[in-house]
Subunit: 306 residues, 4 copies
């Protein structure tokens, strides 16, 4: 296994489309370069924010091929291997590996739920088929299983997983994960996916963050991580307050709910900022229009991002 | 579009494996023939009971290729095109079509949830890419969206879908679906997936059933459907009481929960009855053993199936 | 304990208010007499449809005092003893007993959830404090615990409870409850609370129903029960189709959701039919107005109730 | 209305019983004095931790009468007015007021759910019947409605509520509540109820905390609050790590789940520490025994509390 130590700010990359819903390579490169230039510590492709669920396999690996080439080793690359149950995830792992990524990110099984035994076996079975660093992605909003902190640390101690991306929305369990991980000798690199409360996660001992909002403002997340490393907690929270307000881009949307309001708002913001060429989405989600675009512009203006 | 009218008993086919977890073609043919000989009106492959979530794409289409050849036109074949979001489902639809199936079955989008607009658009977008009859599969336990009866009937009236497989567990909404469908001129063929209360669904006006338990006892479900057609409701409910007790095979399992207890029990019963050669499951689910096997045997014995 | 055998149609009585939100005794007597004259087999006061959660204790026992006097022994009276945890429910049981009711109805504990042990202990503890027949009210939508069929039958066999009112929306579990109850010698009188699918419940072996909609059309529910007793299943389902359409009164409401749309629609229908003098509701729910009233009138007209 | 400004550490008081399940006044006074001597800024009676759902009204007001006398003005007293719907809550408000408390705490309506309109009306209706400071208690785990931050701030601006106790487990919404409250001129005093992540809440701008665990270690929570006031964030998080580990008393319980494991563990710890005379619970919950008591002792020992 590689000995890369993942830490710091690793944005889940939002993927730009053209109006015709093809991959917009020019905008993708601009966005990747913008984040790397801001000092991010890695990039995560094919995550939820990267519309992984909406991409065919062909589209997924097209994204990965282009993205790895664009990053060109400047920062480590993580790739989501998101699929329903173990064999399908292993299939994705094998394919992703061929594209030269530095680590893989897998959720608990979904669609057909089991119990804790099946969840733990799932990660162990994936490990049997890959040598790459493996992150467990705790995302009950999508997969409807919460990963147990004790199980995660056991998987870490056994070398099955190397890290956790926690997007569970359960800050109590996150604290327990950090404490149990510490007590076990820190086998896991623990990241929070909640861009609105990264400061609390850093207080809890997180090794970094995977904030979708960092696509819009990577500088502030990098600055916040460096402040946390320096123990300047007042700065950490001050930046967080600013970023939490910037996240209002997702709260002002009226036309729809769920994914279309979340990633749809990110794309709209990036379009208004000139990073993306349009805010096009993939079926069945429609791009935001009219008043929603105006409302998102207002949030960006108040934040000084326009 | 073909003008096949789907109706009656269409079991979702449970797929036998060898101990080494490869497809057991001999047992599959035995099970398919056993159901067709019992008089079922169709077969549904790559549904939840068919472990669709646990199969790689290669394995899915291997199953479909063999199954279509084994059925050989004796009954219509439905194929699940189960995947996360629209483009992936369309991808599955295109591939399944090549294997000569008679109809497709798609769920609401899952993993990244939206609202009602996205759900409706999803089915319309699938229709734009296939000419085959399309069934909406209402399965909130797996996909976490309940399909609205009014929307389903609208999709039926517009020619987007031709039927519904309702495994929602919501018998009130099912009644409303049947009534609204009737008022609209019966554009939809409506099936229940709840093997324990098929009699109530037939009372509500269902056009048939998709009972996983029919893998174990296809004769009784066929007999029940014929009794319903003849208006012999006492026989319908008497058979249902027997079948509901046979379904205890899934209730006596202690070793695990969820899918492994459900389809795991079906496989164990089929193995004990000599239809399957083993009760092997796919990762991360483990096959049932010891006391669970004994308990399932007891249920089968009480039902006279051994 | 009394040896009343509860069976048949036992409507949960909707309680009329004046515009000033006081108890409308005149309308209450009219509604009670209307249901008894139609041939109902009992009446259930202080259930969810009776706004039990919205009444102070003083108001609850005012209702009970008046209701028992109005019924005057013509049919048995059940009383809800709905409160959070055991001691509070026992308190309600003691008070209700003083008003001369024939049976009590209690839910699982709510607000502070426990596990199966606490739920079972709850009913046993209530039994230690009352000699009246006790019904378990299975209502997970309100109390967020589903009552396990096996536990219910065990409580029945032990003489702790005499019946179940199932409003769980889980028709599979209801079938299992009926079968397990039968196998145990029928210790429980089992009622369904789902007015839209009473026919399926009767097919499953229910001893009766507790349909809120019977406040609006008691005759049809009585006729349906008698048809079920006579084995005339075609009539049972025909009446059910009519009643399911009548239940659209609750589906056409646009102004609000939840309780205000459900019982609010019942009150509005009873007002339009001249049984109630107004459709007033209790705080924080507001009465339905304008288009919602018109839409409810349309449903009643189509059903021939106006 | 009084002009008390609530802030800092306000523990929800756990109530000791005798073995015979009567109120243990001696232990209650010991526990109250212990918390006041440690420097807490207020006490909250009749909250979830105070077994409010398990107490009859008579028992509730017995507790309140004794508690107010014991506190004797040394710190402000908040009282829970926890009941199902508006009129019942108003009834509790009127009674609690008579006992001389300094503020009231009410949840959203529960048992019969409505929509946002009913939730907002509920708090406005309560306000019409009391002059005391009113806190909204955000507790979706018990009442199954999440309070919307924007609505809470609107209620604050309108003088309907003076504060919020957030036990929602939603740290993102908590951040938004704090930000919107700030933008509105800070009409609300905002408290977190999550003892494990108080540091994150203080970073988010909380005015204080309501930690059940402060019954066991009030000194540390007081010290933490003072460190937060002084901007000593390293101390805040260091204390939090210690307290999060102390909270393992609730995680080591094996005999039951839910309330019995949570407050049951608190009572067991207080008993082992000599503050309480037993760990008795109210029906239907049983007190913890054997291995669970040993496991809780171990946690206390590791934390240096024994």
């Amino acid at each position: 296994m590689t000995d890369i130590q993942f830490h710091g700010v690793i944005p889940p990359v939002v993927i730009p489309l053209t109006e015709e819903r093809t991959l917009d390579l020019e905008a993708l490169e601009r966005s990747i370069n913008r984040m790397i230039d801001a000092g991010v510590d890695g990039l995560f492709f094919l995550g939820s924010s990267g519309e992984v669920a909406f991409l065919t396999d062909a589209q997924r690996y097209h994204v990965l091929q282009e993205a790895v080439a664009m990053v060109h080793g400047r920062v480590p690359v993580l790739a989501g291997i998101i699929d329903m149950e173990t064999l399908r995830v292993v299939d994705q792992a094998k394919r992703a590996t061929g594209y030269g990524v530095d680590g893989l990110v897998a959720t608990a099984p979904f669609y057909a739920l089991g119990g804790p035994k099946e969840t733990e076996r799932h990660f162990r079975a994936i490990r049997e088929h890959t040598d790459l660093p493996l992150f467990a992605y705790d995302l009950p909003a999508c997969v409807h299983t919460k990963l147990d902190p004790t199980m995660l640390v056991r998987l870490g101690t056994d070398g099955v997983i190397q890290g956790v991306k926690d997007s569970s929305g359960d800050d109590v369990a996150f604290r327990w994960l950090c404490l149990e991980n510490e007590d076990a000798g820190h086998p896991l690199q623990v990241f929070t996916g909640h861009e609105v409360v990264v400061d609390g996660a850093y207080m809890s001992g997180a090794d970094g963050s995977v904030p979708g909002l960092a696509n819009i403002d990577p500088h502030s997340y990098v600055e916040q991580w460096r402040a946390a490393q320096a123990g300047d907690w007042d700065k950490v929270r001050e930046i967080q307050d600013y970023l939490a307000r910037l996240m209002f881009v997702t709260r002002v949307v009226k036309a729809t709910v769920g994914f279309g309001a979340g990633v749809g708002a990110f794309k709209t913001a990036l379009w208004q900022m000139g990073v993306f060429n349009t805010n096009q989405m993939r079926e069945p989600v429609q791009k935001l229009e009219g008043e929603d675009v105006e409302a998102i512009r207002s949030v960006l203006e108040r934040a000084g991002m326009l």
